[in-house]
């Protein structure tokens, strides 16, 4: 990589000096080998070493002053709470919605917490569809309800339905005797605003962390496609598949990268869809209210509620959120966990590293060695996790490998360790034990480790 920017040059020199200092300062800690030094920098040059509650919300450290300002504008937009009062700023909420701002679900730019039995959905939402596909091969909307259930509404409108959550719990034991429990969520819909559809498929989706997404978007499509093995020709039991989804801006099918089933091709579309579906905010990409086709639809006065500049600023904000660096990566327990992570085959899908594509227009994202621990492909995860609701090429048992970077900071940023698409797992151990399908082998690999080894593997994940 040619380093044009003097700031980068200084930085790299500083890093080299620091590395030398590190290696020679003393030999107490086990240092990572030279090539492994990069692993401290999960987000390449866009890594921040901050481990408090703000860990997910830091801008790229190399942004210019002008770009920082754009990032901050986006930050304001991300936090802006929408309302239904036409006389105020941030007007346009609803008429039906899931929540009132981006940050209401992506708290601290992080992960939503699963609602406990009887609690409101909070950061969770329900995608819905009926069998069949839309004109682009995507989920077929439910007549009079659309593709997402909005369980809240502004005054004068009716929420689509009430949703209550409960869990059934089962206890299990590891072969070495340690016990654990898994809970399965049950969503009960009632009080439909109009006749409830009979054949509705429901998929619960938890708000996911939003940092590092610009770097994932910057991975060369060819590098992702190269990992596909749709018919499992190498016979390892893993058959990753790229999702192909409708790209509204480009008016064509493209690689899906974002969302729990990789149903969105770009951050701009992901953001615009969230504005529209989660908050009821019309925008350039989604000009119609989510209540379109309902008696309460705001059709006659359909105005674009979100300015293009806010949409772009928010997408830019998300794109330029840095990745927290590794912590304690050179401790022996964590080193052991890393070896076990690879030995059990977790790394087959949670692919440790990529180098982002060269990008002259956005040098911050260009040619970065990153450690996201995902392949961005969808995999069969077994019946236990299946939502049985297809989304483009991802079928009812397939989910996109979520990135693992920063996962160890969930507790400090979000105050919980709820994982998976609906937040059902209450710890990393539970999340692993939910794996099935293509991940069955890796799961049983973990299951059959002894207590100390499982602890090491979890410690490795927590250091990410």
């Amino acid at each position: 990589m040619k380093l044009q920017h003097p700031k980068y040059r200084i930085k790299v020199i500083a890093i080299l000096v620091a590395l030398v200092a590190f290696v020679f300062a003393c030999r107490k800690a086990v240092p990572l080998s030279d090539s492994e030094q990069n692993e401290w920098y999960s987000g390449g040059m866009q890594t921040v070493f901050i481990s408090g509650s703000g860990a997910y919300g830091q801008p790229f450290p190399t942004l210019s002053k002008e770009k920082q300002e754009l990032h901050e504008l986006g930050d304001v937009g991300f936090g802006a709470i929408f309302n239904s009062d036409p006389k105020q700023r941030n007007y346009g909420l609803g008429p039906i919605f899931n929540h009132v701002s981006c940050a209401s679900c992506h708290i601290g730019d992080g992960r939503g917490k699963a609602p406990e039995t009887g609690e409101a959905l909070g950061s969770l939402l329900l995608r819905i569809s009926v069998p069949g596909t839309d004109p682009h091969g995507g989920p077929k909307p439910v007549p009079f309800y659309g593709g997402q259930l909005q369980q809240r509404s502004i005054f004068g409108a009716a929420a689509e339905a009430d949703v209550t959550v409960s869990y059934t719990e089962k206890s299990y034991q590891f072969p070495d005797g340690e016990s654990y429990a898994l809970r399965t969520p049950v969503y009960t819909l009632s009080n439909y605003y109009t006749t409830g559809p009979g054949n509705m498929m429901v998929s619960a989706r938890m708000a996911a962390p939003v940092f590092g997404l610009g770097l994932l978007e910057a991975i060369n499509e060819m590098d992702i496609l190269a990992l596909q093995d749709i018919n499992d020709q190498d016979g390892d039991g893993i058959s990753g598949k790229a999702n192909r989804v409708w790209d509204i801006e480009k008016n064509e099918m493209n690689l899906g990268r974002f969302g729990w089933k990789a149903g969105q091709p770009s951050l701009i579309q992901q953001s615009a869809a969230a504005y529209n579906q989660d908050m009821g905010i019309t925008n350039r990409l989604f000009p119609e209210e989510s209540s379109l086709g309902q008696t309460q639809g705001n059709l006659a006065s359909s105005i674009q509620e979100l300015s293009d500049s806010t949409l772009y600023a928010v997408a830019y904000y998300v794109k330029s959120l840095a990745v927290p660096g590794r912590r304690r990566a050179n401790e022996p327990l964590i080193q052991q966990g890393k070896i076990l992570f690879n030995q059990t085959g977790c790394n087959s899908c949670h692919v440790p590293s990529f180098r982002t594509a060269a990008n002259m227009a956005f040098p911050e994202l260009s040619n970065q060695l990153i450690y996201p621990y995902t392949d961005l492909l969808v995999h069969d995860m077994g019946n236990g996790l299946a939502d049985n609701r297809p989304e483009f090429l991802a079928n009812g048992t397939e989910w996109r490998t979520p990135p693992l970077w920063g996962i160890g900071l969930s507790k400090i940023v979000n105050g919980h360790n709820n994982f998976l698409h609906d937040g059902r797992a209450r710890s990393l151990t539970e999340a692993i034990m939910w794996h099935g399908g293509e991940a069955e082998k890796a799961k049983s690999g973990f299951e059959n480790l002894n207590t100390q080894e499982r602890k090491a593997l979890i410690a490795f994940l927590e250091s990410l």
Binding site: C26, V48, V76, Q88
Partner: protein
């Protein structure tokens, strides 16, 4: 979210190298090793400042609910005045807690549930004309802008702060009571969560805590005071100021915004000096160990920031146009403090706090 670049990966790596073989030393000569002093600071900040502030907030919420109840029983000006005073009191405690927006208040998403503005008048009117029962489940189902401090403020002060006891409808009283009750519940939640485990995680970093070591606790504390400086200067003041729009003001009905801002910066002072319920150890004692001139600089800048805010005589909504220069100076002073905390204090605590 709001804070800025804290990268310096290089620094961190060299720290790991240097620190792993570093022997504790005590450059100040005061009692206790630096590690002991650092530990004591965290305990005392937790007890004397953070938890004490939350307790004031919680007892303030109890008082507010009591006064609202009394007002609803008797309905007089006297009782209404007591409601307003107790609102201002609890508001003060809350704003003085915004210098440490981490832990339960952040992870339980308490902030948006009690402190969202501007108030959504249209929906608020709808809530008042609707016939739902004002129970806590109903309040919880409302949009964030329809509960917490600011709808309460609107109800008890009125649009221009001139509301009379006789102006209240029964429905407004019911709503007010339910809102006060909800606010109290959320204040209870914060106190209970601190009691119920977070206190231990905060004061005893290491295994069993979300903080791996004291350095991470210090980073959390310093990040939070940087965050509130940024929020006050570049959000709360700058947004209404640059939009020249008083309707974006935070506490317009009580005309309390300037006090809010000042209390925010006071919370920075409280954390820095370790003084609130009583005068104990604070970040000051950390800085003094290593860099006396930085201590001098931070003290002066905290004082300048508070003075520059106190300098503004008009309510914020009017100051936006009538005292623009003074507001600009206040933003500059707060930003200067923020820069120092970010560029000098944060690296200092990262360098010297125990791994």
């Amino acid at each position: 979210m709001n804070t800025k670049n804290i990268s310096s990966a290089a620094l961190i790596i060299s720290l790991i190298g240097i620190h792993s073989c570093r022997k504790a030393e005590n450059p100040s000569g005061s009692s206790g090793t630096p590690e002991e002093v650092q530990k004591a600071i965290i305990y005392q900040l937790a007890d004397n400042v953070i938890f004490a502030t939350y307790q004031d907030m919680d007892s303030g919420a109890v008082a507010l609910e009591t006064h609202v109840n009394a007002f609803i029983q008797n309905g007089g000006e006297e009782e209404l005045k007591a409601c307003r005073e107790s609102w201002l009191a609890i508001r003060g405690a809350w704003e003085k807690s915004e210098g440490f927006l981490f832990g339960p208040v952040a992870t339980q998403n308490v902030d948006p549930r009690i402190d969202t503005w501007p108030v959504n008048f249209q929906s608020l009117d709808s809530v008042l004309t609707h016939n739902s029962t004002f129970d806590n489940a109903y309040i919880e189902s409302l949009e964030d802008a329809l509960r917490g401090f600011h709808p309460i403020e609107y109800l008890i002060f009125g649009q221009n702060g001139e509301k009379k006891a006789a102006d209240f409808t029964q429905r407004q009283k019911d709503y007010l009571l339910a809102l006060s009750h909800n606010l109290r519940g959320l204040c209870d939640l914060v106190v209970n969560e601190w009691h119920g485990g977070y206190y231990k995680e905060f004061t005893q970093p290491g295994s069993g805590s979300v903080y791996a070591n004291q350095r991470e606790v210090y980073e959390e504390i310093v990040q939070a005071i940087i965050g509130i400086c940024d929020e006050v200067a570049n959000g709360k003041i700058l947004e209404p100021f640059s939009a020249n729009d008083p309707s974006l003001e935070e506490s317009p009905f009580s005309q309390n915004s300037m006090t809010d801002f000042t209390n925010n910066i006071r919370s920075v002072a409280n954390i820095y000096y370790g003084a609130y319920s009583k005068n104990g150890k604070g970040l000051e004692d950390f800085v003094r160990l290593y860099n006396l001139s930085l201590h001098g600089k931070i003290s002066m800048e905290i004082e300048a920031a508070i003075k520059s805010l106190e300098n503004i005589s008009l309510p914020f909504g009017q100051a936006i146009t009538a005292e623009a220069t003074k507001l600009q100076s206040a933003m500059d002073a707060i930003n200067a403090l923020k820069e120092t905390l970010e560029n000098e204090l944060l690296p200092l605590v990262q360098l010297h706090s125990a791994e």
